[in-house]
């Protein structure tokens, strides 16, 4: 590696990569990064992780027959990325899309539009080997088993509900149009589930009160996720609207991941969630009649990591190109990627009817 070029890059980025708390005395390091665009901020986060991350084992590290680790340990830290203008171009970092542009479009449709929700397994069927979740399914179709308690609350009079919730406009969950009751059956066993469209909920909430602090959606389902092998990594999304000095409204988004494959997944996650952000802004705008612009995006990962088996690739590809190419050469705009997106859209329409 060219040390002089590496030093120059770090100097250029010095105000955008911050070690908040180092790795010592058993403390997991904390790194905060910022940038104008997604591509820039993500790149800074990867550099911060590489520079300041600690070494730690993961459950996925490969072992030999004797139980000895084959893979090196992962590089890990808690990370916060603050993206000032999430839709600023160039938005796409070439080092962050391991499946290329077409798969990036497919992933956006998976997260925002739910094209793969039918691949999520029936949670009552142990034989069902399909996916354990998609983010769209958890956000737009979040499920909980319907209990007798829910049924009891549902039957209360409006007056009783208001007393119960200490709120004059109180509605019980099942009264909302973003909530459905669905019945699932496997091997003769039936169970009713409450299915909640959390994104519709938060769009309603933001439309009624832009400064609300309750516009959030979660993914964790403790009745199931504490026991599965590979539970959802995204934990929550939170939105709030703030007006600028000219009175224009901007949608702000915070998301939190418990665990994040920094090199092979985090860029795609961010890219897809910016599309969800655009969807929320557009829907709130439709309901309120006011244009809602895209504000800053804060992305927090409890464990932001590069797997040990991928470290070498990161060093020879990501770092080498960081040094040998300028920023324009490492990135792509959405407009330039559009022909590839369009091609995949056509294929997805044929495959999923979307």
């Amino acid at each position: 590696m060219d040390k002089e070029k590496w030093k120059a890059i770090l100097k250029e980025k010095t105000n955008k990569i911050h070690l908040i708390s180092p790795a010592y005395r058993g403390n997991i390091p904390v790194v905060a990064t910022s940038g104008e665009s997604l591509a820039e901020t993500w790149e800074n986060a990867m550099i911060g992780l590489y520079l300041y991350g600690c070494e730690i084992r993961t459950q996925y590290d490969a072992k030999d027959d004797q139980g000895n680790f084959i893979d090196p340990p992962s590089r890990d830290c808690t990370t916060l990325m603050s993206i000032e203008n999430p839709t600023a171009e160039p938005m796409i970092h070439l080092g962050g899309i391991p499946g290329g542009f077409e798969d990036l479009e497919e992933y956006v449709q998976e997260v925002r539009d739910g094209i793969k929700d039918h691949w999520v397994r029936n949670s009552l069927d142990p034989e069902d080997t399909r996916w354990q979740y998609t983010y769209h399914e958890r956000l737009f179709r979040y499920e909980l088993p319907l209990s007798e308690y829910d049924r009891y609350l549902c039957q209360l009079s409006q007056e009783e509900k208001q007393k119960f919730y200490r709120n004059e406009t109180a509605h019980f969950l099942l009264d909302h149009d973003y909530v459905q009751v669905v019945e699932k059956e496997i091997k003769g066993k039936k169970q009713n589930f409450v299915r909640i469209n959390q994104i519709q909920y938060l769009i309603d909430k933001l439309s009624q009160q832009p400064y609300t602090r309750q516009a959030q959606a979660i993914t964790w389902q403790p009745y199931m996720d504490t026991d599965i092998y590979d539970p959802a990594c995204l934990q929550s999304m939170w939105f709030r609207i703030l007006a600028d000095e000219k009175g224009k409204s901007f949608l702000n988004m915070n998301i939190r991941f418990r665990s994040r494959d920094a090199y092979d997944a985090s860029f795609m996650n961010c890219f897809a969630f910016i599309h969800v952000m655009e969807y929320v802004a557009e829907e709130v705008g439709k309901r309120t009649g006011e244009e809602i612009r895209i504000g800053r995006f804060v992305d927090e990962s409890d464990s932001f990591h590069i797997y040990g088996k991928r470290l070498k690739d990161f060093e020879i590809r990501f770092l080498q190109n960081l040094i040998n190419r300028d920023f324009a050469g490492r990135t792509f705009s959405r407009k330039d990627a559009e022909p590839y997106f369009k091609e995949r859209r056509k294929k997805l329409k044929e495959r999923f009817g979307t």
């Binding site: 490969a62 499946g99 542009f101």
Partner: protein, 216 residues
């Protein structure tokens, strides 16, 4: 000798589909044989791409853009190749194993192997052992490539190999495996012939299994 094949290889590396397509047409009009254009231009270009990827010079999307440029050239050559010679260095059946719906890695290997001159039969994702057996029976490939992203589904590779043994087809085909949870130890343990840690390595492994030496 014409320097068009070298131009084709260069433009293919740069992912310029339009230039590659035009240069292939120009090479044909100047009397080059389709076989030479394929081997000295397109496949040589994809070899450079594979090397560039291995060396870390290229990002994955750039490899895929180059593969599309190759397809542009192949669209011109394909009808002619069937008349003049056989472009394929062998058939390659590929799929993600049963229960596994992930296909990013599999698609990347497919593109690279196709670029190396194999005729690829893509069975998609969530492919049952029976479907692999049927594909071997029908297409008689030199190689099967199986992919799995999950530790819970990689066991299906062994199940598939056993199904091929029961169908008495195991001896007729080489098997290579790959995917995030895989190791070469595991590949050996389940009776696969080879393991490829990434898409660029998959090309070398496939060529080696097929007994093909690259000719420039």
């Amino acid at each position: 000798m014409s320097d068009i094949p070298d131009h084709i290889a260069k433009k293919l590396y740069e992912g310029d589909k339009e230039k590659v397509t035009n240069l292939v047409q120009q090479a044909l009009s100047e009397g080059m044989t389709p076989g030479d254009i394929l081997n000295k231009g397109l496949i040589a270009g994809m070899d450079r791409v594979g090397q560039g990827f291995k060396d870390g010079e290229l990002f994955v999307p750039e490899v895929l853009i180059a593969a599309r440029a190759m397809q542009g050239g192949m669209d011109v050559l394909r009808p002619l190749l069937t008349e003049s010679d056989n472009p394929s260095i062998g058939k390659y059946v590929i799929g993600t194993v049963k229960g596994d719906l992930h296909d990013i890695g599999k698609n990347l290997v497919k593109m690279m192997v196709e670029g190396a001159g194999f005729e690829v039969i893509d069975l998609g994702a969530d492919v049952s052992p029976e479907a692999f057996v049927d594909a071997v029976r029908q297409h008689r490939p030199k190689i099967i490539g199986m992919s799995a992203l999950l530790t819970t589904t990689m066991v299906q590779m062994k199940v598939t190999i056993e199904a091929l043994e029961r169908a008495e087809l195991r001896g007729s085909v080489k098997i290579m495996v790959g995917g995030a949870p895989m190791t070469s130890d595991y590949a050996k343990k389940i009776g696969a012939d080879a393991y490829a840690p990434d898409a660029a390595a998959a090309v070398d492994v496939a060529r080696s299994l097929a007994g093909v030496n690259r000719k420039e």
